[in-house]
């Protein structure tokens, strides 16, 4: 990769509050989402879903459905028996259940009909015979009852994956501590609930023997691979195209049943087939936040310095692998990124249960453990008689250091973030002096700017960009980067525009089409701005080199004096000597022929070598700090979050409007997780797969959000731009919980902190018991002894007595 040497300049478009490039299309209603598309002869598909949480599939009979006039094709698991998954280690799903079902809502048959009414009617006519098996609906149940197993793989019983790692020696660390505290915390599952339901339109071209799938998805590359496998096609026979996406948040990253089924039905009928999920089905597609039980034990010196930490995480994975192996490891990776932990043990287990599979949701795997940790630290500070902010400050990581678990921190603006929110909220003046019922809470967090490892092993780049300049001066960027609302299109256009002296809307984008655009691994782990951004930067610099060379030659100006700005390329010393961008493009095309360049990006090699070290490394980390102010009603347990101050170390904001939008959206999602959203179950069924029953906060619950963007220099990021899509969510949830504790002097060690739970904690207190609700024990399970991982040299040196 070329060295980015342009950091000290004044930027033309970077950092400006410009409109997003897809704004016009979206606000005018012209943006096309998958369900907006239709093709001649298109059929409407429908999935038939299991009514049992765990059962042998005795038979699936399609005859009656097929007899209904208008039904063109129907399939069962036997027609699509190939197992697949995004994760190489977890090939455990089929597009339709084959011999057993593992959750209510799992698809067992699919059909296509000439119109949606017929498809819906035909679905009622599919006859399914089940032989029920006992269903395991939570962690405890699944661990207590190893038989019958939900899957035939995994170490034993219903255990899917295990991790047990130790960096340094926690026993030594705890022995050094003056004080040790242990806490339990439970984080309920929640789901992404994008407004746009998943939708896929498949078209098999029998002549070309090629499948095209338009789909509302955020990772077309992994889907491309998975589809080919599931359908028994060569990868080059599959083309995935992503139209506009109405929200993802991690919920559109897996290979979904309706995608494979639409494709298969199209292959069978030779006609295009569209399947759009209903809202209920979106709740079954899920892949959301894992319900997670955490136990944290921390040793501290009297002054608050951490000497050792032991984190145990129990993840309820639902019925399939999904991204679970990574989710599980993420539960342990980020703690040492915010705080220096000299000795650290992390143990985790992911368990199968008979619920829709859990997977990656905004913050992937880290919010649960972050929340537990930040609440735990709050209690620790109370015990030590330290201000909660002070406790954090005494343990803070800094820039350019290696964590005990071998993660490399480059830029680090956490301290500045803390200062911002502490000052703006009046923390020191107000905390502890507010009337009963009102409280302030604080928390910090860190997140990755892109996963350093790809999901399947390869030494190829993670992001590539093609860039074309034509003789009209038009610039087209080809990238698989998928715009899901987070602003990736604007980010890429901004970077290219900056380099070429254009405006973002001058840059045409061809995105997310596996035939037309070079690789990008997907819109997950907040990787696009940094990775695609770096690739785009490289491609743009390369084409600019060509343009400069041609202009220098034509106008006899030293190349080094040329600049690209205001849609011109000119001599900076003598600005009228130059040409329009289009003129420059023509000179360059005459000189070099077709103007097309490319760029690619590969993240740095990970430093850890232990098993599991692939999860956690990132080219750069972001940091956030939050203060939340709540008003709580001691008689009803109702909590209103009134104000939230969030500071986020963004590196540099390519476009502050979009960055603030991500912070505000994160606050909204965090608010839901903190107070009301639950992907919860009533016996074997989702409690309420609808907008009425699943409580996404409305405009009335939204607090005032005061955002601070903290800038740091990040050499690995394009124009220093780090992530913002996920990080700011993490600190908000625990800040709210800590604020409730400050307001009511009780602890809700469980999210969502519903009025019921708050009231229960108050009642416990009134009865003279500890004013707390939350888990009191961990499930019956013993972790294998941890793998001892040597600490980085820097830590060993620090441990040497001076």
């Amino acid at each position: 990769m070329r060295v980015l040497k342009e950091r000290e300049r004044v930027w033309n478009v970077v950092g400006q509050r410009l409109p997003r490039v897809d704004g016009w299309a979206k606000v005018s209603g012209r943006a096309q989402y998958t369900d907006d598309l239709s093709l001649p002869g298109m059929l409407f598909g429908k999935l038939v879903r299991s009514t049992h949480a765990h059962a042998k599939l005795v038979s699936v009979r399609l005859e009656r459905a097929l007899q209904l006039p208008g039904v063109v094709a129907a399939i069962t698991g036997r027609d699509v028996p190939v197992r697949y998954s995004v994760f190489p280690v977890g090939q455990d799903e089929t597009a339709l259940a084959v011999d057993k079902v593992r959750y209510v809502g799992e698809p067992v048959a699919a059909l296509a009909a000439v119109d949606p009414y017929t498809a819906e009617e035909a679905a009622r006519l599919v006859e399914v015979e089940y032989e029920p098996l006992p269903a395991r609906m939570d962690l405890e149940e699944a661990l207590r009852n190893p038989e019958p197993r939900i899957h035939e793989y995994g170490p034993f019983g219903n255990v899917h994956r295990l991790a047990s790692l130790e960096f340094g020696d926690v026993e030594v660390g705890f022995a050094e501590a003056d004080h040790v505290r242990e806490d339990l915390f439970f984080y309920e599952g929640s789901t992404h609930a994008p407004l746009e339901p998943h939708s896929a339109l498949a078209w098999w071209d029998p002549g070309a023997r090629k499948l095209t799938l338009w789909t509302s998805h955020q990772g077309p590359h992994y889907l491309h691979r998975g589809l080919a496998k599931a359908l028994g096609l060569e990868e080059h026979q599959v083309r995935v195209v992503v139209p506009a996406v109405g929200g993802g948040f991690g919920g559109k990253l897996d290979i979904f049943h309706h995608e494979v089924c639409a494709a298969k039905l199209s292959m069978l009928t030779g006609r295009p087939v569209k399947i759009t999920l209903t809202r209920e089905e979106v709740f079954y597609a899920h892949r959301g936040r894992h319900p997670e039980l955490l136990r944290i034990r921390t040793g501290v010196k009297r002054d608050g310095r951490i000497t050792a930490m032991h984190v145990e995480a129990y993840l309820d994975g639902g019925a399939y692998c999904s991204f679970g192996p990574a989710t599980m490891l993420y539960a342990g990776t980020q703690q040492p990124v915010t705080y220096r932990i000299p000795h650290y043990r992390f143990q985790a287990v992911r368990v199968f249960t008979n619920k829709p599979p859990c997977g990656p949701k905004r913050g992937h795997g880290t919010p649960q453990a972050r929340c537990a940790l930040e609440v735990h630290l709050d209690k620790l500070s109370e015990e030590l008689g330290l201000d909660p902010v002070e406790l954090r400050l005494r343990n803070l990581t800094g820039p350019n250091e290696l964590t005990v678990n071998w993660l490399e921190i480059t830029s680090n603006g956490l301290r500045a973030c803390i200062e911002k929110v502490v000052e703006a909220s009046g923390w020191h003046e107000r905390r502890g002096r507010l009337p009963y019922g009102r409280g302030l809470g604080f928390a910090c967090s860190a997140y990755l700017t892109g996963a350093g490892g790809s999901i399947y092993y390869s030494d190829m780049p993670h992001s590539e960009v093609h860039l074309r300049v034509d003789r009209s001066g038009g610039v087209t960027v080809y990238t698989m980067a998928t715009e899901i609302g987070q602003g990736s299109a604007t980010a890429v256009a901004t970077i290219v525009a900056e380099v070429l002296g254009l405006q973002p809307q001058d840059v045409s984008l061809v995105t997310s089409d596996t035939d037309l655009t070079p690789i990008d691994l997907g819109s997950y782990s907040s990787r696009v701005t940094l990775m695609v951004g770096n690739a785009a930067y490289e491609a743009a610099c390369r084409v600019r080199d060509l343009l400069f060379e041609a202009v220098a030659e034509r106008l006899q100006v030293p190349r080094s004096r040329l600049v690209a700005r205001s849609r011109r390329i000119f001599d900076e010393a003598n600005p009228q000597v130059g040409g329009s961008f289009a003129q420059a493009a023509q000179w360059a095309e005459a000189r070099f022929g077709c103007l097309a360049t490319s760029g690619s990006y590969r993240p740095p090699q990970k430093l850890g070598t232990y098993k599991g070290s692939g999860v956690g490394p990132s080219p750069a980390y972001t940091f956030s700090a939050c203060v939340a102010e709540v008003q709580a009603d001691p008689e009803t347990g109702e909590v209103k979050v009134e104000r939230v101050w969030v500071a986020h170390d963004i590196g540099r904001a390519l476009n502050p409007v979009l960055v603030e939008g991500q912070v505000e959206g994160s606050v909204h999602m965090a608010l839901g997780e903190a107070l009301m959203e639950e992907q919860a179950f009533r016996k074997e069924l989702h409690r309420g797969p609808s907008w009425l029953d699943y409580k996404v906060p409305t405009v009335y619950e939204m607090p005032e959000v005061i955002t601070f963007l903290v800038e740091t220099e990040e050499p690995r990021a394009p124009f220093s731009a780090k992530e913002v899509g996920q990080g700011p969510l993490l600190c908000v949830v625990p800040a709210i919980l800590n604020a409730i504790a400050d307001a009511l002097k009780v602890r809700v060690d469980e999210v969502p902190a519903t009025p019921e739970r708050v009231l229960k904690a108050l009642e416990e207190q009134r009865k003279g018991r500890t004013g707390r609700v939350g888990p009191t024990k961990v499930p019956p399970f013993s972790f294998p002894p941890p793998e001892r991982v040597p600490r980085p040299q820097s830590w060993e040196e620090a441990a040497q007595p001076a």
Binding site: R17, P19, R20, D22, G23, W24, A25, K26, V27, S28, G29, R30, A31, Q32, Y33, D35, D36, H192, A193, P194, L195, E196, P197, A244, V245, G246, G247, G248, F249, T278, R279, I484, G485, Q486, G487, V657, L658, E660, G661, E664, G665, S666, V667, H668, M669, S690, W691, L692, V696, T698, V699, Y700, M702, V705
Partner: protein, 165 residues
């Protein structure tokens, strides 16, 4: 019974053959190709399918097309004129009040309806106006700002928000 229904949408008259159970949402999207109107539940919960009927917001997923004869329907496609965004739309773009954009057609329409009635809305009135439409991306912060920005713009330019519909 199927019936030919005369529907006025965005100032244009359409004649569509519809059975009684066909909703306005289905007719707009599937018969008239006006796919700017989105859907997110079809049960009256999310507000994403909002259109204006005689200038007031209504959920197209709960309206029977046959019952709409004689009413004027406005969809997001009816707002921009000659490639010029309606001031409300412009305010949404300028304020960054959209991310995935899926709620945007509905948000823009409820805003237009509000500002047609109340040129200088209070914060509470703005919240009330957008409360019927869910947004999962923005946390509503910039949406509330955009509504106020649109109100200012309309007051300053004196351009009636009604034009273009």
């Amino acid at each position: 019974m199927e019936r030919v229904v005369r529907l006025r949408v965005n100032g244009q008259e359409h004649r569509v053959l519809v059975p009684p159970h066909r909703t306005l949402l289905e007719v707009l999207r599937e018969d008239l190709g006006l796919v700017g109107t989105k859907h997110g539940c079809e049960l009256g919960e999310c507000g994403i399918c909002t259109v204006l009927v005689d200038g007031e917001p209504a959920l197209s997923c709960l309206l029977l097309a046959q019952e709409l004869e004689g009413h004027e329907v406005t969809t997001v496609e009816g707002l921009a004129t000659d490639g010029q965004l309606h001031p409300v739309q412009q305010a949404f773009v300028d304020s960054g009040a959209l991310q995935c954009g899926y709620c945007t057609p509905a948000m823009v329409l409820v805003t237009k309806a509000l500002l047609d009635r109340v040129p200088e809305p209070s914060g509470e009135q703005v919240r009330e106006a957008v409360a019927g439409v869910f947004c999962r991306c923005t946390g509503y912060v910039k949406i509330l700002e955009a509504v106020q920005a649109a109100a200012r713009r309309l007051r300053e330019t004196g351009r009636p928000s009604g034009c273009g519909s």
